[in-house]
């Protein structure tokens, strides 16, 4: 594992964003738009709260956390696509960089992107709706960490599919995280889901994260059980996604597709 090679890929992404307003907008535009839209909906519904405590916290907290997961996934998949679009992938893979170094550097890129996105979202939520996500307290850190791990797992898995199936799989980079949204119970408790989907939700780490968040906001204390489930599942999925990426990389080398990606 070489630090300078990881730094190189990280720096390449940094240079890319440094002077690209559209790319920076991509990091900030959607979170802000979501926040404005859902913020107003929350204010409207809040007039009818009565039975649902901490309504604003449920919704805006969930929204900000969901966006972290989405950005973590995109931080990996879109960074990979940038190398395909610029026909640079071959240059990278004929250098001594290993697949692990490449994936780790994309994780760092993803981390920076979500720090940027989260900072803006948290600030705007506080400014527009007086919502302070830090009311979640110390639980916020493990909740965010779990979403980051799941975002990385989905990102690596998606990237492996793009590597294998080329540009026809690019659409996954934009939409795959949304497949997880209904079953993640982002804006509602798992208990409202039909029973078969509740069973499915048990195996989705983000459903435990959002249940955990609601537990904390409702004053239920540190959600040990939910976080333990989420972390265990995340570690398993991250390992699976990484092994899948290695397998696809080898398959692509066997099929001679590395030089044809992006065509």
């Amino acid at each position: 594992m070489s630090v300078h090679r990881i730094q190189a890929i990280f720096l390449r992404q940094l240079f890319l964003y440094k002077r690209s307003i559209p790319r920076l907008m991509g990091v900030l535009y959607w979170p802000v738009l979501d926040l404005v839209l859902w913020g107003f909906i929350t204010i409207y519904l809040n007039q009818y709260r009565g039975t649902l405590p901490a309504f604003v916290s449920f919704f805006l907290g969930a929204l900000i956390l969901w966006d972290l997961l989405f950005r973590a996934q995109q931080g990996i998949s879109i960074s990979f696509l940038e190398d395909i679009w610029s026909r640079n992938l071959l240059n990278l893979f004929v250098s001594p960089i290993s697949v692990s170094e490449y994936v780790i550097s994309l994780m760092f890129v993803s981390l920076i992107k979500i720090i940027l996105t989260a900072s803006v979202s948290i600030f705007l939520a506080w400014l527009f709706y007086s919502f302070n996500i830090f009311i979640i307290g110390v639980s916020l850190l493990p909740l965010v960490l779990n979403l980051l791990l799941l975002g990385w797992a989905i990102g690596i898995f998606t990237t492996a599919l793009i590597l294998r199936f080329g540009s026809q799989a690019e659409v996954l980079a934009w939409g795959v995280a949304f497949l997880f949204q209904p079953v993640s119970a982002v804006f509602y408790p798992v208990s409202v889901l039909p029973y078969p989907i509740q069973v499915l939700a048990m195996w989705v780490p983000s459903s435990h994260v959002f249940e955990g968040m609601r537990t904390v906001v409702s004053g239920g204390g540190f959600p040990v059980k939910e976080l333990t489930w989420a972390l265990s599942l995340n570690l398993f999925y991250l390992l699976f996604a990484t092994l899948f990426f290695f397998r696809m990389f080898k398959a692509v080398r066997v099929k001679g597709l590395l030089g044809k990606i992006g065509e």
């Binding site: 190189a8 390449r12 890319l16 001594p96």
Partner: protein, 242 residues
């Protein structure tokens, strides 16, 4: 002569189609070997195999006396590649791109080396320009500069002068020969420009449908086919005239 590349009985099949069929050749230190053949002859597949981008079906490949399948990453430290169908990130400047590749190859104090290469390729004035603002010929020269950043012992070039005008193409060929003479750089080269192949190559390996149909110095191959020059040989092979 010290052997840099040794390829024995190399085969690569894609879904039953033999893209490379029992190809063997060697390249000595400081030698320029031209891989020649019509489209689909297997040239690019061979280059991709030598770079470890494609895994062969069978055969033995040794580079610097190390088995490619076992020591790929170690070997990649000492080789480099450029091709007309590969580019660089367009939203980065030339210097930023070269700095990133210098880091990938673990080059310390890369600034001097980058300056030297920009000077060699007469593109010093382009250093702070975005790659997207360069002409295709200028991008090609930047890619060639990238390919020489790590001072490779073996350089694989797939149609490197395809987008260069005759003047720059000539300067590039001279430069590559200078690197060969000064540093003992070994080059494996493909091109569809037969005059370029004759001028550049110490030896050529002529491929057709994945098989070696002739090998030797350009003069030997021309004589073997009883033609006037390589271009006539090429046209004859491509049209199936033998």
């Amino acid at each position: 002569m010290e052997k840099i590349v040794s390829v024995k009985n190399l085969k690569k099949a894609f879904n039953g189609f033999m893209a490379v069929d029992d190809v063997s050749f060697e390249i000595g230190k400081g030698e320029i070997l031209g891989l020649l053949g019509p489209n689909g002859a297997g040239k690019t597949t061979i280059i991709h195999i030598l770079l470890g981008l494609t895994i062969p079906t069978s055969g033995e490949i040794k580079i610097f006396d190390m088995e490619l399948c076992k020591k790929r990453r170690e070997i990649l430290n000492y080789i480099n590649f450029s091709s007309s169908y590969v580019s660089l990130p367009l939203s980065l400047t030339v210097r930023e791109n070269l700095r990133i590749f210098a880091m990938l190859y673990g080059i310390k104090n890369s600034k001097d080396r980058i300056d030297g290469l920009l000077n060699d390729f007469e593109i010093t004035d382009l250093g702070d320009k975005l790659v997207r603002k360069l002409s295709s010929g200028q991008v090609t020269r930047v890619c060639l500069a990238k390919a020489l950043l790590n001072e490779p012992k073996l350089l694989l070039l797939d149609e490197p002068t395809a987008s260069l005008d005759p003047d720059i193409a000539d300067k590039t060929r001279r430069l590559l020969k200078r690197f060969r003479d000064e540093r003992g750089l070994t080059i494996l080269y493909t091109s569809h420009n037969m005059k370029e192949m004759e001028e550049m190559s110490d030896r050529i390996v002529f491929l057709d449908k994945g098989k070696v149909i002739a090998a030797g110095t350009p003069d030997d191959v021309v004589k073997e086919f009883k033609k006037e020059n390589l271009e006539e040989v090429f046209i004859g092979v491509a049209r199936g005239e033998g």
